[in-house]
């Protein structure tokens, strides 16, 4: 037995050393606390929800935000500065999104804010079909998407495991050190390493993200769209698909929880269903359910074939639309 335990200890020693090294390096900035999460020399993609949460914790007392934008990365088209034009002057805005956000994620965030006695004067909810049909955190299990225990029912082990896995992923490690030494973003690096030729800029107070792609498009839009079309990022939309998702009982319960919180705080809110490149229209049952749950003139559906989803120039790629679309949407939704 002693021989066995000794052998096991010796065998796992390199693993323990590697683990210590990973925690010390803290590639994804989750093992230690930081005052600022985004910096000029950062090139690793961070977990957006975690960074928003930590920023909120760090700066809540000074900033005291009372107006929040919720949604997935698609919500990043909506900028706090643009939104403020439609809010009372005293409003302090904050962008509280998550990568691959789920409906449950928004509910839990609202409940977190409520529990921590934040005011909810204004709320902008950016939905899409994918978000509405995700009623649990199951699909959010990678380092970029895993939800923090303060927001979800994940344990600390559940939360930290994907970061440990990602930190020893040979592809990530290779990408990290390749970029660290040569400062050149290569296509194999994927989503772990941010493209720093056109870096995203994050407002460290309200967490708005300004995509570097916007600058790239402004420099040479023809080159940008030719490149994305040739690489297959935009596909042909000749055959339109239907939204076949079913509204589940759980979705209705989650939407009701959102409604109850917003009503309790007498929040001025708007719900936007995002314009998507796939032009799939939110099915009528779902739309009717949302309409019946929330007040009149609060829900605005931009899915399907329309002036916002048709031009290619409204999108960075098939998943994300550009801020000028969001600005036009805000103008419309706040005109009622």
């Amino acid at each position: 037995m002693r021989k066995f335990l000794k052998k096991i200890c010796l065998f796992i020693l390199p693993c323990i050393l590697a683990l210590t090294g990973i925690i010390y390096m803290d590639f994804f900035k989750v093992f230690f606390d930081y005052e600022e999460y985004y910096s000029d020399d950062l090139f690793v993609s961070l977990n957006r929800e975690y960074v928003c949460l930590k920023t909120l914790e760090n700066k809540a007392e000074i900033l005291q935000p009372d107006s929040f934008i919720f949604g997935s990365s698609r919500s990043q088209a909506f900028k706090c500065e643009d939104w403020k034009n439609y809010l009372p002057d005293s409003s302090v805005t904050f962008h509280f999104d998550a990568a691959n956000e789920a409906l449950i994620g928004i509910v839990e965030k609202l409940e977190y804010l409520q529990k921590n006695e934040f005011q909810l004067k204004n709320v902008l909810l950016i939905f899409d079909i994918g978000l509405l049909t995700q009623t649990d955190f199951k699909t959010r299990n990678s380092s970029l998407t895993i939800s923090h225990p303060a927001i979800s029912d994940n344990s600390k082990l559940d939360f930290y495991s994907p970061f440990l896995s990602a930190s020893i992923n040979p592809k990530f490690v290779t990408s990290y050190f390749d970029y660290y030494f040569f400062r050149n973003h290569r296509s194999y690096m994927g989503q772990y390493i941010a493209n720093t030729k056109y870096p995203n800029i994050v407002n460290s107070e309200n967490m708005d993200v300004f995509y570097g792609k916007e600058k790239e498009i402004k420099e040479d839009s023809i080159r940008y769209y030719r490149k994305t079309i040739e690489s297959g990022i935009f596909y042909d939309r000749k055959e339109l698909k239907k939204d076949t998702s079913q509204i589940s009982h759980k979705s209705i319960l989650l939407l009701s929880r959102i409604k109850n919180i917003l009503e309790e705080h007498t929040t001025d809110y708007r719900i936007v269903v995002s314009p998507m490149y796939d032009q799939i229209k939110l099915n009528s049952t779902y739309k009717e359910t949302i309409d019946s749950l929330f007040k009149n003139n609060k829900v605005f559906d931009y899915s399907g074939v329309n002036e916002w989803t048709t031009p290619l120039g409204n999108f960075y790629e098939k998943s994300h639309y550009r801020p000028h679309v969001a600005r036009a949407i805000m103008k419309e939704v706040y005109s009622y």
């Binding site: 037995m1 021989k3 066995f4 052998k7 082990l157 495991s161 896995s165 990602a166 020893i168």
Partner: protein, 482 residues
């Protein structure tokens, strides 16, 4: 609790240390620890269903004791049927109630009779098909007087709920496993090391091979309406490796874990995709279930005795029941029937036992004939797995018809195809490992006699890195649903 979870990575060392240090040499205490740990292991998923296991344990233990005292044939038969009815009753209610109800309603609607009965929202208890079969084997063997009924309730509880194989097998025979609970267990270094290697290989099969194949198989099967025949074939091949990696991976972890506690479980897989005909495949795939059906259904039905018609009938019964055991859906029944049809030519020609040895036993590579035989058997299983994986018969037939169309010869085009093609070399390396070790119990078996220490350690660490790298996409084992 899943084997591929952090929870299990913490649970296992704790139980191991308690077992060998705190309760060392105390057989009763070790058995009690196994029983208690097994209940914790199962209760981690849903503690409410522990009552089912406990009830099943109590019924079979009591009936075992009653069978010992009773000599009257009729009464003995009655006790046996009580046990079978209780066990199959649980299984029937939790697994098949809605299936029978729906089919009953559909059958009546054919004659214009509308029956309005709501199906029940029943949760299927994890592993119910496995532990009910295991406990039934005990009562049947006691009834047949092949096994003396146990007096030791703790040992029997530990036998029924033994956590390494509780939820997805191997389905142990009481004659093999129960006596191991009576013997004093001494720590065996070689057995424990071999167990760890088997756990490592099982985790690799599950986390790296099966879970990645699952990603692509799911994309293709879920979007099958829009995909070409060639893409659907790739999806079916991915599922073929997914189910093998998933289920044989689970069995490896189960057998390896049992070895850490000094137990030997039966072999459940023997490199089935290297089989030269379908009969050989079924001698190598889910061995514990195939032999269970052979011993407790096929032989009592008359087995191979009697005329050709009896053999054919019994073969079909076994395969169809086996299909139905997997799930309450017509797709599983058709999957079983299809395998029986595959088996039929071998049975009729009397050469269903012609490939009993390991393929290319004393050679590195198979002969051309063997290679063709392996490929064609593999092809047949891929087609059968389509029924196993499809959501419904309509779904399965849609896939089969598309594969039979001219789109089979088009260039495969499905979402994430580039990522999927990058994964194929890893699958090929996996096949190579399995091929090299095809005479062994599992791919890393007895490695200390074959490879030098530094090479072994490179392999171990590479596997660990691969497992941890892919661990984020934790997926449940397919066979949990059975």
């Amino acid at each position: 609790m899943l084997f591929n979870s952090i929870d299990f990575a913490i649970f296992l060392p704790i139980v191991f240390l308690l077992y060998w240090f705190v309760f060392k040499g105390k057989l009763k205490a070790q058995n009690a620890l196994i029983a208690l740990s097994s209940y914790v292991f199962y209760g981690w998923w849903d503690w409410r269903f522990l009552s089912l296991i406990l009830f099943s344990t109590l019924v079979d233990y009591t009936i075992g004791r009653l069978l010992l005292k009773e000599n009257d044939k009729l009464k003995r038969k009655l006790f046996l049927w009580i046990s079978i009815l209780v066990n199959l009753g649980f299984l029937g209610f939790f697994k098949y109630y809605n299936f029978f109800l729906d089919n009953f309603i559909s059958a009546f609607s054919l004659f214009g009779q509308e029956i309005k009965v709501n199906s029940l929202n029943i949760i299927l208890p994890v592993g119910i098909s496995f532990y009910t079969f295991q406990t039934m084997s005990y009562t049947i063997d006691v009834y047949r007087k092949k096994l003396a009924p146990t007096k030791d309730f703790v040992a029997f509880t530990a036998f029924v709920s033994f956590f390494p194989q509780l939820v997805a097998g191997p389905i142990e025979r009481a004659t093999n496993l129960l006596p191991q609970f009576y013997k004093k267990r001494v720590f065996d270094y070689t057995l424990a090391i071999e167990g760890l290697r088997q756990i490592l290989w099982g985790l690799f099969k599950k986390v790296v091979i099966a879970d990645n194949c699952a990603e692509y198989a799911n994309i293709i099967f879920n979007g099958s309406d829009d995909l070409s025949g060639s893409s659907l074939v790739i999806g079916a091949v991915f599922f073929t490796f997914q189910i093998y990696g998933d289920f044989s991976g689970y069995s490896d972890i189960a057998i390896g874990t049992a070895r850490l506690f000094g137990f030997n479980l039966m072999k459940n897989f023997a490199f089935p995709y290297f089989s030269r005909d379908i009969a050989e495949f079924w001698r190598r795939w889910h061995i514990s279930l195939s032999t269970w059906f052979r011993d407790y259904l096929y032989i009592p039905l008359g087995g191979s005795r009697g005329g050709l018609w009896t053999k054919v009938r019994n073969t079909f019964i076994i395969f169809i029941v086996s299909g139905f055991w997997h799930g309450a859906n017509w797709t599983f029944i058709v999957w079983g029937a299809l395998n029986a049809i595959y088996f039929l030519p071998l049975l009729l020609r009397g050469n269903n036992r012609s490939n009993l040895n390991v393929v290319a036993e004393n050679r590195v590579l198979p002969t051309f004939k063997e290679f063709i035989q392996i490929l064609s058997t593999f092809g047949l299983t891929v087609i059968a797995w389509i029924f196993f994986r499809a959501d419904s018969m309509t779904h399965a037939m849609g896939i089969i018809f598309e594969i039979g169309s001219k789109t089979l010869f088009s260039i495969p085009d499905f979402p994430m195809r580039h990522k999927a093609f990058y994964f194929i070399p890893l699958v090929l390396v996996f096949i190579l490992f399995e091929w090299i070790a095809r005479k062994e119990e599992f791919a890393l078996s007895r490695l200390e006699y074959k490879w030098k220490k530094p090479v072994r350690h490179v392999v171990y660490y590479s596997l660990i890195i691969a497992i941890i790298s892919y661990a984020g996409q934790e997926q449940q084992f397919i066979y949990f649903q059975f």
